[in-house]
Subunit: 388 residues, 2 copies
Amino acid sequence: MRILSITERTVPIQSEIQNAYIDFRKMTVSVVAVMTDVVREGRRVVGYGFNSNGRYGVGGIMRERFIPRLMHAPAEALVTDEGDNFDPHKIWDVLMAGEKPGGHGERSVVVGVLDMAMWDIVAKIEGKPLYRLLADRYREGQFDSAVFVYAAGGYYQPGKDVGALQQEVQEYLDHGYTKVKIKIGGPPLQEDLRRIEAVLKVVGDGQSLAVDANGRFDLKRAIAYADALTPYNLFWYEEAGDPLNYALQAALSQYYPHPMATGENLFSLQDARNLVRYAGLHPNQDFLQFDCALSYGLVEYLRILAMLGDHGWSTRRVIPHGGHQMSLHLAAGLGLGGNESYPGVFWPFGGFADSYAVEGGYVRLPDTPGIGFECKAELYRLLASLSE
Amino acid sequence: MRILSITERTVPIQSEIQNAYIDFRKMTVSVVAVMTDVVREGRRVVGYGFNSNGRYGVGGIMRERFIPRLMHAPAEALVTDEGDNFDPHKIWDVLMAGEKPGGHGERSVVVGVLDMAMWDIVAKIEGKPLYRLLADRYREGQFDSAVFVYAAGGYYQPGKDVGALQQEVQEYLDHGYTKVKIKIGGPPLQEDLRRIEAVLKVVGDGQSLAVDANGRFDLKRAIAYADALTPYNLFWYEEAGDPLNYALQAALSQYYPHPMATGENLFSLQDARNLVRYAGLHPNQDFLQFDCALSYGLVEYLRILAMLGDHGWSTRRVIPHGGHQMSLHLAAGLGLGGNESYPGVFWPFGGFADSYAVEGGYVRLPDTPGIGFECKAELYRLLASLSE
């Protein structure tokens, strides 16, 4: 049982949108296809992976260091002791050999992308959808048959006024979402408040709306927004300050009475643990948004979830960033609180299986073996082009 | 005034050595040449940069994102308001446009390498060695005419016994170094103690020896080493645990009575500030080892030094990792405590200007404009090959 080839490509995720930090017109992602010598149901097993938006493709590092490590490893270093499947934990060790501790960025994306493809393969070889494999391995078979998802949008776009924002949000509700998230922090506070109040008219109440500052605020501005947001009692107030400024978050956690969310820009167990240790977050109230595709994959995510348990956090407080099917499987199979979704943007990566509509804010997963990229036609067309 | 071209190459730093984490046989570094349209003393001004050992070359990301940003920027975005020189601070903003906060690894190396080349250019255009330019800009002209350097070695190598280690250390003393550093944490504690005692016989006393665990220890092993090391009263005990495990460092800082050192694997202002906030280090006793070539360059380093000042740290407690000439200029021009040096390894990057021997543990800098790579023949041959 061995890997025959690994093909990667960097593709643009063309979009006119902007958040408070970046302009997505130049954003790229890496997609990868890992071809194996295993055949299941008459077809060669191929695993696919990609990274979520926001961090660019990482083809250079993948080709320079990580693909060669996998391709040069002896076959037995990549498979279970029984030799009946690939072992993502062993593969992780092979990928990270010769890497120093600290400095968790970019390479964490490479490992996230390759790890995704390997879990796709492992579940295909076992003939199960990934969420069932995870439930069987780590939760005594318990899984969620549908996962809470919220619609992340409300980006800034040239010429987009409050009416267009309301229309966008109405479309999310029409498509079955019950909670939505919009960006804040681009314009001045008063304009953001007008945007928020306009959206509240569409969604009905604060618990149906989250807001995301993308790490833009210093403490003063974060507090000014906290003051202004408090009366709305929002679903959450996300990433007010720099993701590594735990002291800012701790001050804000003391000050702001409602739920907060952060973590999408922390890419390792060590960083996640520092957040939990120092940021003053409330395990009974706040949300953690680590994204396996950016942070060394599911192997590291399992370590993060174990660490969270040690610190008294339920897996239900974890709602990953990224809006991809991989995290949807983690959510269903490991009992997370839900998953982000980008219904309108980051095409063809946003959204889930074509045949499963969001209903009442929840989405079901296909029973196809693996992650089920095959059930998302536009995405699969792109991924399959790598392995042809 | 503009950049005509940027050439980068990934080169191996072939070495049989190992530390407790990595095997350097596969280690690479990126070297870069930035060619300008400026002419000084009849020669075109070209700046050179490279990253320090331990983090691999970053050619892929450099080509994919960072070189295009510099080459596509309007000329005025890269130069001072007066237009009389390039402005590394403005260039930093151009390089980091479209980059999200957090995730400080790899790209921090890219920016470090390009920033080094740009400061080489800026100092060449001003016709000053970089340390004088820094002293003039940031320290009212005050500079150190020689910089403390210590010899970092004592790596593990196949077949290297205690006698060979003693011989290596004796060579450092013979070359003018007064303090040396050796690796610990590869073999069991008792063997490391035999190595330490053997080296102490050569260097004379504990204050002439530092030890470096390269982040390998959990708290239990870190404490066991602390117990064993305490009687030697060493110059410092470096990077006992994972560089991001501030809680481990804080426990150890309380426990171990003598100087400790860390920071080489923290690559941003945010990470450096977290270390200072949470790791319980002693500003009157400990050493910080941030390396500009790995951590967004001198522009970010100036922010880090300012942050350290706000937290009551003197620049004299900073002794950078990396053993390169760039940090030697920072040390002389910004009043740091010294610089690392790799006299025997990482050829041709280790060591400083050819004509300046280390004397009594200090080394002088050449008065050549720029960083003075031109005064290090073997290195310059490599760098110059990029701009031919």
